[in-house]
Amino acid sequence: MSWKKILIPAMAIPIVALLAYGLTRDPNIVESPLPGRAAFEFSSQTLDGDDLSLADLNGKVVVLNFWASWCVACIDEHRVFVEAERFYADRDFQMLGVVYQDEEPNARRWMERMGGTWPSLVDPASRIAIDYGVYGVPETYFIGKDGIVAHKQIGPVSAMLMKQLVDSMLAAPLGSEPSTSASIEGSVPVGQSVGHVSSAPEQNRNADTGGS
């Protein structure tokens, strides 16, 4: 057998196999290491000027949404959040926004126009965003009653996903949150530079609250 008959397939097969494997994967899907781990503690000011920390919401299912007024994809999912806030009003459920790379007046106007009464935190130095490994907006983290991140959604949240996740998280007893850690759709990153706000990146929600 000629060396060509061995060498050429020996070099070509692994490369073709590797490329074929690459084609089966969506480059926008980047697996987050956060689901299954305790949510990082943070505190900041809301758009209304109140102080709020994640520890204040301990014992509730928290849907932490990173958004911006310049984000087109945030418009559709906002309607889902408005509906969810109304639907789960008397449950242990809390919507919480974090404004990503945006100007406060623009974010405030956007919330007024789009509706929803949940607090949105300002994050001028993007400390909360960096702490949560945010790539762009919209990105949403589903945090269980015990402070564990159950799911990270890259891209808009659909009504079906919202209902499935929140229902199962509300029904789950402490310590048994669903672990659907998939990142589904691509995000829309655009950047603008802004100032600074306090957050506690090295603290962990459970470390602070003594949760499970």
Binding site: L7, L18, P33, L34, R127, I130, Y132, G136, G191
Partner: protein, 165 residues
């Protein structure tokens, strides 16, 4: 002969063009980044050049989350700027460069590292180019040797035919 020389000149001019373009792009990228740096960064460089060198080194290892193809050091995006500021603060607060790197890996996963660590499946990325290069060189060597042998055989055959005549 003249045509060959013309080809060589064309290749050299092409190479010069590519290198000049790459150099120009790099300097423009640098200028854009410098123009986007906040005044506090410029002051920090003057105050502590050693710290700033560490910040640059670390930022060059991390992928910009919003641009993806650029490092945090090279990206002019707002997010990359915030990350450079945070890296500076983390180093100032006493964290080692390894701890800072681990901080980002913990949040973004290994994806944030522009150079994947040499372990597990990642070895493919490190070893495949070496294997390809070695295989390629071996292929060129064998092909060249065969051409030389064929040339010699043809020359010997021609000489034999001439001597017979």
């Amino acid at each position: 002969m003249r045509q060959q020389r013309r080809h060589i000149w064309m290749v050299l001019i092409g190479l010069f063009g590519v290198l000049t373009h790459a150099g120009l792009a790099k300097s423009v990228q640098g200028s854009v980044q410098e123009a986007n740096e906040p005044a506090s960064t410029v002051q920090a460089v003057v105050e502590d050049p050693e710290l700033e060198a560490q910040v640059k080194e670390l930022a060059a290892k991390l992928r910009c989350p919003t641009c993806r193809a650029l490092s945090v050091q090279d990206s002019p995006s707002g997010m990359a700027q915030e990350m450079r500021v945070l890296i500076r603060e983390q180093l100032k607060s006493g964290m080692t460069p390894e701890e800072v790197e681990a901080y980002y890996v913990e949040r973004y996963g290994e994806w944030i590292l522009l150079k994947p660590t040499a372990q597990g499946f990642n070895w493919t990325v490190w070893l495949l180019p070496i294997l390809m290069l070695t295989g390629g060189l071996f292929f060129v060597f064998l092909t060249a040797r065969r051409w030389v042998q064929q040339g010699q055989a043809r020359a010997e055959a021609t000489e034999g035919e001439e001597s017979e005549l």
